[in-house]
Subunit: 176 residues, 2 copies
């Protein structure tokens, strides 16, 4: 079964973007780039919530798909067109459960809020990787909404970057 | 001026207790104990919100004050009696601002929610120390409420404990 990793950059108070979607507070580094380079080689599929897709698209300087060489699914009930990304408008959990059974490399989930909640509650996330940024944004788009059950984690690694980010990677322990 | 450190144990999704105040998910370790032992020697004053005080009291096995040898202030508009802890019922920020100017050792703030928000927004927190536990509680008493301004942090250290907790310590960069 294909591994699904939920990966985001977050503020210490668990926002993934400002309220207007801005991610100007993100700080890049060679260390983060090295982690991402390894990660990109393991995956062939990206799953995004609609808000995260729009944020990524805004960051991608005119490209129609923020991840042009990777199969990209955008989960949205309202979005009508997403260039060469595929829109999944219903039964997100069922779709991802099916995708995990198919042949392929690993799968990356980006985003937070409703989309993350749906996949966590359905027990579809295998690993969590956060690049925790040294900032309290105070308000913004939340990484987590309330969930209906506890998820126990096992820390795989934590790495302190020179720029003050802390990268943490966890395995989900109690998926059904 | 006395340093004020905001220190808590939190879940990865930033809860400090279950909705009913339970902290059964906290995991102790010699490593956390060593950090706390150093910390206790630097402080002589503890500031608590009411909910955190009640949680600490429930954990303290019949003691009337969960921190009997340290000057303890509980911030609450409703609490009437807190044994030998002192209740501060109004103007929390003003009280803490004054306290920082007095002679004494460092000050520890425990808790989250409204109390933390008040002190952060008033620019009274100098350092933040979190013991991030490897769990998503899903719901509970939140560490952070929305705040009206961004707070930039400088990472002082991050330490991975054997039990999967990650201890992070930050300095607040942009206090007034």
């Amino acid at each position: 079964m294909r591994k699904v990793t939920f990966g985001v950059a977050n503020s210490l108070d668990n926002f993934i973007a400002r309220r207007d979607g801005a991610v100007d507070w993100l700080i890049w580094s060679d260390e983060a780039a090295a982690v991402m380079k390894d990660f990109w080689q393991k995956i062939d599929t990206i799953l995004l919530g609609r808000k995260t897709y729009e944020i990524a698209l805004a960051q991608s300087k005119g490209q129609k798909n923020p991840y042009p060489h990777i199969k990209t699914y955008v989960f949205s009930r309202t979005l009508k067109d997403a260039a060469d990304a595929e829109i999944i408008s219903e039964n997100a959990a069922e779709f991802v459960r099916d995708l995990k059974q198919q042949d392929g490399k690993e799968i990356c989930v980006m985003g937070g809020g409703d989309f993350a909640k749906t996949l966590f509650e359905a027990g579809l996330i295998d690993e969590i990787g956060f690049n925790i940024h040294p900032v309290l944004l105070g308000q913004g788009i939340p990484l987590f909404l309330e969930m209906n059950s506890q998820i126990d984690l096992e820390l795989i690694e934590s790495t302190q970057f020179k720029n003050g980010c802390v990268y943490v990677l966890y395995r989900v322990k109690n998926n059904p």
